[in-house]
């Protein structure tokens, strides 16, 4: 079957590629567009490691049909840094030792970013809820929660 042309914005750049009809977005990002930020974890929507933002909302790339992304804006962890300047969340993850093996980190960062974009001053409970769909088998979650709360605090200080 012929591949289907698909165009969408990826981290603020217009990108075009070809996909099989039933390809999921994760396959297209990693194999078609060399965007290796989102990882393949479970393929079932259980681990959250492929979390991306689509039009600003967190979604799982492994369960999203590529052709359904036509004309939409997809954001991955690779688009978080501003040139050499890392996103406050990325800095906070480093400062709080929130990554050990690092496999969950791309999904954690995107889930955290979705939260802070909507709610710049989250409570600890908000943070726990925001990463409830993301599994980490190394850190025990506490350093990740601390990092997200620290990044929220840093953003608040920057605004003030």
């Amino acid at each position: 079957m012929a591949k289907i042309p698909v165009q969408f914005r990826l981290n603020n750049s217009d990108r075009a590629t070809f996909a099989e009809a039933a390809d999921n977005l994760l396959t297209t990002l990693r194999r078609g567009l060399n965007e290796f930020g989102p990882k393949y974890g479970c393929g079932q929507g259980a681990c959250g490691v492929c979390t991306v933002l689509i039009d600003g909302e967190p979604q799982l790339a492994c369960l999203t049909l590529t052709v359904a992304c036509e004309g939409r804006h997809v954001e991955t962890v690779s688009g978080m840094a501003d040139g050499p300047n890392m996103h406050p969340l990325q800095n906070a993850f480093m400062d709080n030792f929130a990554a050990q093996c690092g496999f969950c980190t791309p999904g954690m960062l995107m889930a955290a970013r979705a939260l802070l974009d909507r709610n710049p001053n989250p409570t600890r409970e908000d943070v726990v809820e925001a990463i409830a769909g993301n599994i980490c088998r190394c850190t025990g979650y506490e350093p990740i929660i601390a990092a997200i709360l620290a990044a929220a605090g840093a953003r608040g200080e920057k605004r003030a």
Partner: protein
């Protein structure tokens, strides 16, 4: 022949395509069907997408609620007219899943998934099913769930139910071993409207206690016409297992589910913490 994807722009077109081709599979939010694609269980045929805005419409301001089958859990959470369903929607997955998972899809989720369907069963919802290009017919959710595994012909377009007169009359609890989120050991929903201080038309539903969500008729009988006190709750707990056929899976054994069901039912009814 590999999987193909088609897009329908109206519900009638989607229903027509689904009715005319058994190999066409409807893709709502993708959280169930794309799993099958990723795991190689769905290798050929056609995936059907629907872009009709009516599929995601919500009408929740009046006493009768109608939710398009394409309404997501996130949309339910963001709707201020549905506070009694917020705990239900929040119990399903993390924020990313909730952006994708739809009410229509949840009606097809196999046990131990499908917590939203449990709530809809306790609300005595009606499921709108459109077959072919005709108009949609209304099916009671209990009948729909009972017939689900024999295959549903057509498209689920919406669900309808009466809004509880008092939000406190509706209770929901999902029991999971993983905090804050995990797959259900079981879920329980109860709609216990009051007339005076007596419960009238009690509806109690379980998830993960049978191959599909089921009504707890013994509990309903125990509560009907009674006030919610220790005697009626004791009677409800004694009848908790009537009609259940729990399965053993990776989350819990059938024995464990039977053992803990009366305990969690009691906590739901008394409003106790976990």
């Amino acid at each position: 022949m590999p999987l193909d994807v088609r897009v329908a722009t109206s519900m009638a077109e989607a229903a027509g395509l689904l009715s005319s081709d058994q190999r066409t599979k409807f893709l709502s939010g993708g959280t169930l069907v794309m799993r099958d694609v990723n795991e190689g269980r769905l290798l050929d045929g056609t995936l059907l997408r629907l872009t009709d805005p009516a599929y995601r419409q919500m009408n929740a301001s009046g006493p009768r609620v109608e939710l398009g089958a394409g309404v997501t859990m996130a949309m339910v959470l963001n709707n201020r007219d549905l506070p009694f369903l917020h705990a239900v929607a929040r119990a399903i997955g993390g924020p990313a899943i909730r952006q994708m998972a739809t009410i229509g899809g949840n009606l097809f989720a196999e046990t131990p998934y499908g917590d939203f369907a449990v709530a809809l069963l306790a609300l005595d919802a009606q499921v709108m099913v459109q077959s072919g290009y005709g108009s949609a017919r209304t099916v009671a959710i209990e009948e729909f769930l009972g017939a689900r595994d024999r295959g549903v012909s057509g498209l689920v377009t919406a669900v309808q139910f009466a809004k509880p007169q008092n939000a406190a009359d509706f209770k929901f609890r999902k029991i999971s071993r993983v905090k804050p989120k995990g797959i259900s050991v079981m879920s329980i929903a109860a709609h216990l409207p009051n007339s005076g201080s007596r419960i009238v038309q009690a509806r109690v539903a379980y998830g993960a206690m049978a191959p599909t969500p089921v009504r707890a008729r013994g509990v309903e009988r125990a509560l009907e016409g009674k006030s919610l006190d220790s005697a009626s709750i004791h009677a409800a707990k004694a009848a908790a297992l009537e009609g259940t056929r729990p399965l053993t899976d990776a989350i819990a054994t059938e024995w464990y589910r039977r053992e803990v069901m009366p305990v969690h039912l009691g906590r739901l009814l008394t409003g106790e913490g976990r």
